[in-house]
Symmetry: C2
Subunit: 188 residues, 2 copies
DNA sequence: TCATTCATGTAAGTGGTTACATGATTCA
DNA sequence: TGAATCATGTAACCACTTACATGAATGA
């Protein structure tokens, strides 16, 4: 029924994986799936709006998720079926799909001679501020999580991803400071 | 001629930027542009094969680059024009286009309860090994660059990007170790 | 001579984003 | 009553990847 299938073979297993995974925690509406991906997975994953509903439709067609009438009129509650859980495990064990890197900041730094040292320093200063905000966010999440009692079996894993964000931010911050200092000595 | 233009307005300024930037260092063939992006920008940028030639064609049509006959039969040498250099500066000053995050490892760690602590540990161990290889690569590049005499005006900026890679790798390594230790205490 | 590298391009497909369109429910 | 939120979907578009197709030059 959906055009996302050719001869029964699913494409875009990435989105399938994310949606199945979110539904494995608790049954919810498509709208809630979107919110969960944005709010819980936001700092390392994203699915666009127009991606989630078609995916839910195709997963339903494949009987990997079950679509039941929701509490609100016109709304649905999606939940994992047994084969959906099997498929989820299959996808989780699949090697990660690596997306080609595209770091706009690094591109600009690499060609910094063309841009000039002051402009590069400005870019890095801006980045540095964003990193500080990120760091504060991660700390806030960590504090919130330590008082949370929902989903105790998931929490330690969630904490690992927050810690990863923190480590990444700390590394970025150290580089920003080092780079800004170095840039002061660059010819201009 | 190309379908990449609507009413003279360029789309995909990202690829335009990368190609113009590479050509700003030295004139070269499309093939060489591809190699430069892969070998010099590889750890923070990528352009696919089928992207570079159409981009060069559209940039030539816009007179941002000049297409001259190359040394080999059938080959061309592309070089920046004056307006190409202006356009490059314009694009470098443009805010970075941020691509939505998609970190397969983090997704798997987040849903680690479903995957199980041992499988998660295996994934992280694998990542750790890749990070070590990366770290060695960055060190090798840094050593090579310190003896290199080409493009002395670019070198300090190039060194900054290598340093960024190093900092990122060091942070990732620290997280891997911390996570692996934490995972030992997870229920199984 | 034959494999590899250098070199240029096209075509089809695909994963994904953005904007549009619609309407119910909740709550101030 | 009216704004914000919850909710579901479609359509158009687009950037990008992969695979295909071709051939010259180099060097073992």
């Amino acid at each position: 029924m959906s055009t996302r299938y050719i001869g029964g073979m699913a494409r875009s297993s990435q989105t399938d994986l994310a949606v199945l995974a979110v539904l494995s925690v608790a049954p919810m509406s498509g709208y809630a799936v979107r919110e969960a991906i944005r709010d819980q997975l936001g700092h390392f994953w994203s699915e666009s709006f127009g991606q989630i509903y078609p995916t839910l439709a195709s997963l339903t067609a494949d009987e990997l998720v079950d679509k039941a009438v929701g509490e609100r009129a016109g709304s649905s509650t999606f939940s994992l079926t047994a084969s959906g859980r099997t498929r989820l495990l299959e996808l989780l064990q699949t090697p990660e799909v690596t997306t080609p890197p595209r770091n706009g900041l690094m591109l600009r730094v690499f060609f910094g001679h063309t841009l000039g040292p002051d402009a590069v320093a400005a870019l890095i200063t801006e980045t540095r501020e964003q990193v500080l905000v990120q760091l504060a966010t991660f700390d806030a999440i960590a504090r919130m999580m330590s008082t949370e009692t929902d989903y105790p079996e998931h929490r330690p894993y969630w904490a690992l991803t927050v810690s990863a964000g923190r480590h990444s931010a700390v590394g970025a911050l150290a580089w920003c400071d080092e780079a800004l200092e170095a840039l002061e000595g660059f010819p201009r």
